[in-house]
Amino acid sequence: MDELNGLGVATFFVWLIAAVTFILALKFLASPRTARMGNLLGAAGMALVVAWTFFIRDGQLGIPDTWWIIVIGAIIGSIAGWLGAKRVPMTAMPQMVAIFNGAGGGAAALVAVVEFLRDTDLHPGEILPLAFIIATLLGAIIGSVSLTGSVVAWGKLQGVIAARPVKYPGSQIVTAALAVALLGIGVYLTVIEPTVPLFLLFVGLALILGVQLTMPIGGADMPVVVSLLNSYTGIAVAATGFVLNNYALLIAGTLVGASGAILTQLMCKAMNRSLFNVLFAGFGTGGESAAAGAEGEEDLKEINAEDAAVLMAYGKRVIIVPGYGMAVAQAQGPVRELMDLLVAKGVDVQFAIHPVAGRMPGHMNVLLAEANVPYDRLQEMDEINDDFADTDVALVIGANDVVNPVAREEGSPISGMPILNVDHAHNIIVLKRGRGAGFAGIPNPLFSNEKTKMLFGDAKPSVEELVQGVKQA
């Protein structure tokens, strides 16, 4: 081991401090009260390690000759990241996270490329040390998959790419062939000869693999994919930490790799599906949706906003069930107003949040928090599910699959997914934009339930009408 000078030792302490702030950033997310401070702490740790790395490398004080690369890159990246983060509407948050994640994965892959080029240049024709080459290849492949996979996930969430699972005949064979080719090239680069063209082919195939793995997955499952790709980028960063022998990267990457993996697991569990099923089942096809829309129109009873408002204003307890429809319509503000008015009339108003409502776990919480709904009114599924039987009105705003009783029966794609017991409420009012099926493309018998009344239209004007109705009631 090399002898460390004072600055070298200090560098280790900077890494240690940064690592601790990153752990605290995640740990403080356990409560809404500490979460924001944790995030700021993590940002401070990040600023420290970035500044330190700019001025001190390998125990030597000094700005690198190529400082301008870092300064220009940092300026461009900061402006782009800042604008993206500040301008994105809360509804588009999942795809924004996907893009930021893809950028990180791309950076990890590019760092691996530069490292590989440098080392084959320094030691032409030689086999590189085993741990080094394996970590480099891992950083390159995982980072590349994360980059293109994230771009596809963004496209599907943004509606630029068809949200339905895109498959073509033999697509699984292509995926398998890609995997085998990557493995073969990887082994060749490791034990026989690390050549640059072959390495670039390796990266190119990994980029294609990212697209190939993500396209067959339906838009409804994209949040799980984003979470998984987040974990991938973490692993790629950890691999880069190995390559550069940098513990800040190693710890932060591993931390995210592990936390992303468990978060992905939690999301799958909330839908009662395995990760394998999410990734390979091609859940939610466009065709089903159209067919279901045509059939499901028969028995729906409509209600006007005034009657619905009266029903709620004179009830004892109302549970509001928000879904993606509320997010799309940006109806969270009027929903808060509705809540305030009902509470003023003495109605007990609660929100029932399904773990996968919206496009991401916690998506509804973020939106309602944006509209200043106090978070102690937001109840998780397990806490509130028994209360529906004792509820006068369940108001479903743009939610569909998470309240679909079909999930309790066998033989449906969402069978076994835990759902909100909306159908146990005395009255059910469903705000829905159109008559089609939900994102997963499955007909919903809740809508034809005899206790259910439908209020069709965009969620925002509908809720605003309800607000007017409650004022007059």
Binding site: M46, V111, D121, V256, A258
Partner: protein, 100 residues
Amino acid sequence: MELSAFELLSALFILVLAAFIGYEVVSKVPTMLHTPLMSGANAVHGVIVVGAMLVAATAESPIAIGISLVAVIFGTINVVGGFVVTDRMLEMFKKRPGDR
């Protein structure tokens, strides 16, 4: 880029222990904060910008310079965007006085 066996093994230890910390810490985050969690974890792996800076600092060939410039841009987007967007989400979770 030769790592000694000792360095390699230390890194392995750190890797395994950090994975357990990640698992434990995230298990305690409530569902309502899962979107900020995903975003916050996303910001943390933005530390890759440090790796990009390290390769940029020693880049000589035009190709290496070009690639490391893009790597620094990507890394910075990740880290700045990640923390700012997480802060925006968490800002909304603050409680108004008098609510209960």
